[in-house]
Structure formats: structure tokens, C-alpha cells
Amino acid sequence: MVNTNIVVLDEVLGSIPGGSTVLFLTEPTVEGDPFVYQAFYENIAAGKEGVIVALSKPPQYLLREFEEYGWSLERYRSRVVFVDCYSMLIGAPSDAEFIVKHPNDIKEIIETLEKALDSVEGGILAIPALSTLVDYCGEQSFVENLEKLKEIFKKATTTFVSFILWPYDEKTIEKIKDVDCLINIKGIEQRVVFGEYFEVAKARWLENIENRSIMFKVIKPGGVRVYIPKIIVTGPFHSGKSTFIHTLSTRAVSVDRLGTTIALDHGHVEHAGVSADIFGTPGQERFDPLLRTLSLNAIGTIVMVDSTRQDTFDRSKAMWQEVWKTGMPVIFLANKQDEPGALPPEEIKEMMRLPEEIPILPCVAKDREHVLKAFEALVDLILHRKEEEK
């Protein structure tokens, strides 16, 4: 079974049928190659063989790039075959298994690729930045040979390709898009590209595809992570918000005075293929306008309840109502469950008269396991993961 090994994307695609070509069509200012690297590496690491084509840089640079993501291809070097379409262009030596002598001759590239795939009897084929081939060979020669190239792709178990959308002829792009599976990778641009997202445009083996845009970030080391730009943690004073954010975060800052958050808590978390920024709100009522501002553009909310302090339940509920209006996913955490006298979550839910569909989970904010579970639960809600998908 072959997957892309990119969270959410795999949930949409399911397992990829043999012989399929998966194309990551990338705007010039966003990163598409890491998708190909990640899909290739994870499949190789899982025991498959594969061919990787070096087009715009020498194979040793490719290896180094994998290394930067934390993926040691070197360790599985015996299962990986390189096709070097670069070194001969600059007259450099190469120790790749297959070397293309004239990289602007697309016929030679196709022949070499076929030999390389035969040498591993199929396997995974990875071609980062296939568009480089258009640049080397010229648009016309590329288009004329594209069908032939696609035939070769079918020899692989799965082919992962990225293609950069330089302003080529529209017809060229239409022909390129004609593959089994098409994933668009785009930038959210406003003066500069400040966010990136992907969406599955087509997968031949699926009857219908959820129309979803998924934000991501490329992290070194780490690779492609689904990115949630803003989760807020709210709740009464002393309920455990700062503690929660610090336990969850790989890095965190608090603006505290005498142990109380007077401005913001901010943390960042990398977990289970997801990368998220977390913001805490101050608990005191005089900061409520700040809560309103903070909840703008937020994608999910955690409401903290101090399970030992029944007198603060109303306050928790009021804070929830503040963000509930926006319609974003919310979960409650019944915190301080390790304290004697902490009320159990279901009892709290009843006392607060929360709607049935609102989840409430037990929590100990100092305990990483609890905190990660809470985070996962909120992420599932945000990403509309259904129960059966898990």
C-alpha cells in the first residue's frame, strides 16, 4: 500500500492504486518539492525501492536536502537509484547509478528513466520539479514527448511529481494536469506569500472529493505539516491556561507579571503531523475585549475549567459564549483532575448545562499526555475528521 505520508492528504486520498501518478502542481513562490521528498522517503523507509530524478541540482545536494528534513536516504541507499540529469550540464563528475549525458534531450531522459525503473522492478518514482525538464528541452519538445513520459510513469508502483507553474503555455499546463491525481499547492499572497495551502483537485480512484483547502508549513527538520495558525485557550483566572500552553508547546512565551498573565501567552506546537500556534487569553473580565479581538481569525478554542472551583463555572461558560458565536470548533477541558475534590467532566457539563454536542475532556495541565490528547481532540474537530476515519 502506498500513501503520501502527509496527514490529512492521506485521509482524503486513501491508499493510492498501483501505477498512479500523483502530481503536485505548485505556484512559483510556494514549496512543492518537499511533498515529493516526504512521500518518497517514507515509502523507502517503509521498505520499498525507488528511483529519484535529480533535475535542477546534483544528487548529493538532493541527499543533503533530505538530510535537512531529518530524512536519511543514505541509510537506505541500497534501495534508491539516482537518475542524474544535472551533472553533465555543468561538466561535473557524478556517482549516480544512471547519468543522462544530454539533459536537453528528452528522449534520452525517457530511455534512461525506463532503464532505471526496470532496475528496481517498478518501485516508487520521484521527480521533484519536473518543470525543469520543460526549461531544458523547450516547451514544444516536452509536450510532444509527454505522453511517452507518462507511459513510463506507469511502470512505477507510484509516481510522485512536482511541477512549478511558471507562465507556460496554457495548453502545456492542461496536458500536464491530465494525470491520475492532481494536488494544487498555492500561496496566500498579500504583498508577500505569508501562508501556503494545498487542495486535492482530482483523484481518479475517488468518486467525489471533499472540497477542502488545507494550510501547511514546511519545517526543517520535519517536512510538510498541516498548519493551524490560531488556536486560543480561554478560561477563568487561575484555571491553568498558561500551564496548558507551556506543557503543550515546543516553544512558548508568556507576558506575565507576578505569575499572572497580564497580556498574552503564546506557544507553538508540532505534534502528529500538525503545526499550530496557540494563544492564551488573560482570565480577568477587564480583558474581555481582548478575548473578542483574539478570537478573530482563530480556528479553534479550548475553554479551561478549574474542576475544583465550582464558583468559576459561570465564568468559563460566559467566556465560551463569547467565542461560540463565531461558530468555530470548541472543546472544554475539566482541568486539575489530579486534585482531590475535582469534579468529573460529565458532572461539570451537567452543572454548566452545556449542549450535548460540546465535548468536555478530563485534563491535568501539567501532564503532557493529557495535554496532547486534548490538542488532538480539538485538531480532529478543526479538520472535520469523522470518528470512523481515525
Binding site: 512559483p28 513562490t29 541540482k57 544535472y86 520539479a129 526549461d135 511558471w166 507562465p167 499572497e189 508577500v192
Partner: protein, 246 residues
Amino acid sequence: MSDRKLVTGIEGLDTLLLGGVPARSAFLVYGPPFIGKEQFVKNFSVECLRHGIPTIFITTDAPFTQLRDELTSLDSKYQSYETNGLVRYIDVYSMSIGVTEKDKYTEYVPSPMDLAAINLALNKAQQMVMGKHMHHLIVLDSLTTLITNTNAPTVFRFVQIMKGRAKSAGATTMFVMGAGVHSESEVQLFKGIMDGVIEFKEETRESKLYLRLQGFGETKSRNWIEYRLEKGTIDVTGAFEIGRIR
């Protein structure tokens, strides 16, 4: 410096340009080596930095350290521009010859063929300078190296994307291109998508130097104007006002 013009620092040229290069324009500096093109590029960049305009240098022909040294010798305060966050380098040269040292103002691109990597590095550099500044300058030196490493159509597509994005980011972009290397149709292709061209030439028989402006909206003259190279800077000596006195 006004909001709409970037002073070049070369008096005669600023007069010709009615105050300077229009902000947010993309223009080509074209000419053979060693007759003034390089001086213009450096003088203009330093002038922008003096006025607090951040500058992103994309170097393909020399390591960024060489550029840094040259600019420091032009302006003794150059280092302070770096420490004030006004300078970013994208070095497309050093990795190919195997010498790179970590530098906090520099991003390396492994190969002049990897135009996508240049684009990504540029976006990153822009994010760093744009938070605090309305304008910035991008210097790409040179298109010639990119073209000889790939081909004109490929670089043309790259320039199309880069130019469009620079404009929406509020950047002025200076592309440098050498004369005598490219075919005439290639030169026309690139001149054609620019907002302006500053062209340098040498008349070997009379051993005189001339420059000429094309595009840039309104200018004082579109004729070839004589200049001299004086102590590393350009001295426009040709009379261009005369034409206006009828």
C-alpha cells in the same frame, strides 16, 4: 527622497530622470562590462540604503562577500546598513564553487539553474524587510548568468513572475544584463517587459562613453548622452538641456 522617485545619486542622471527612477518600477541596466554599468548599480544601491530603503542583492557572478567589500569601500557606513536590517543577500554563486560560510544576512541557492529556489529565497528576504518598510529595492546581478546557465525563455518566465510579485510587494527591481553575450532578439525580449532601460555603450573610435534612457515615463532626453567615469562614479557631461531651448 520622494515617495515616487528613487534618487540614483548621479546628478546628471537624476536630472535626466526628472528626479530619479520611478518607485515600484522594474528596469534593466544594459551594457558591456567595465564601462560604467557596475558603477551605476553599486552607486544606486548605496544611495537607496543611505535613504533607508532596504535592498536585496541577488548575486550570481561573485560571492556576496565580494559585493559587501566593494560597497563598504564606497560608503564607510555600509556596515551600519547591514546591522540596521537594510541589507539581504541571496548568493547564487558560492555554493557552486563550494565555499559557504554561515551569514545572518545571507541565503544561499545551490545552482543558477534553480530559479525556483531563488524565488523562494527572495520571498523570505522580502518578508524580513517588508514589515518595517514601505519600499525596497531588489538587485539581480545578473540576468546574463542565469540565461547562459539555462536559456532565455526559462529566465523570461522567471522574470515575468518576479516582476509581477515585486510590483505588488512595492519593490523597485533592477535587472543587470551584459551586452555582447545575447542575441539581439533575446535582448529585445527582456527590454520589452521592463518599465525602463538604462543602456551604456562605448564608441571605441572616438573612445567616448554614452548612456541612454528608454521607457521610465517622462524623461528629459532619449538621446545618447556622453558621460565620463571619474573615480568610480559616473559624470554625465553631455548636454541634454540644449535640445529644449528652441
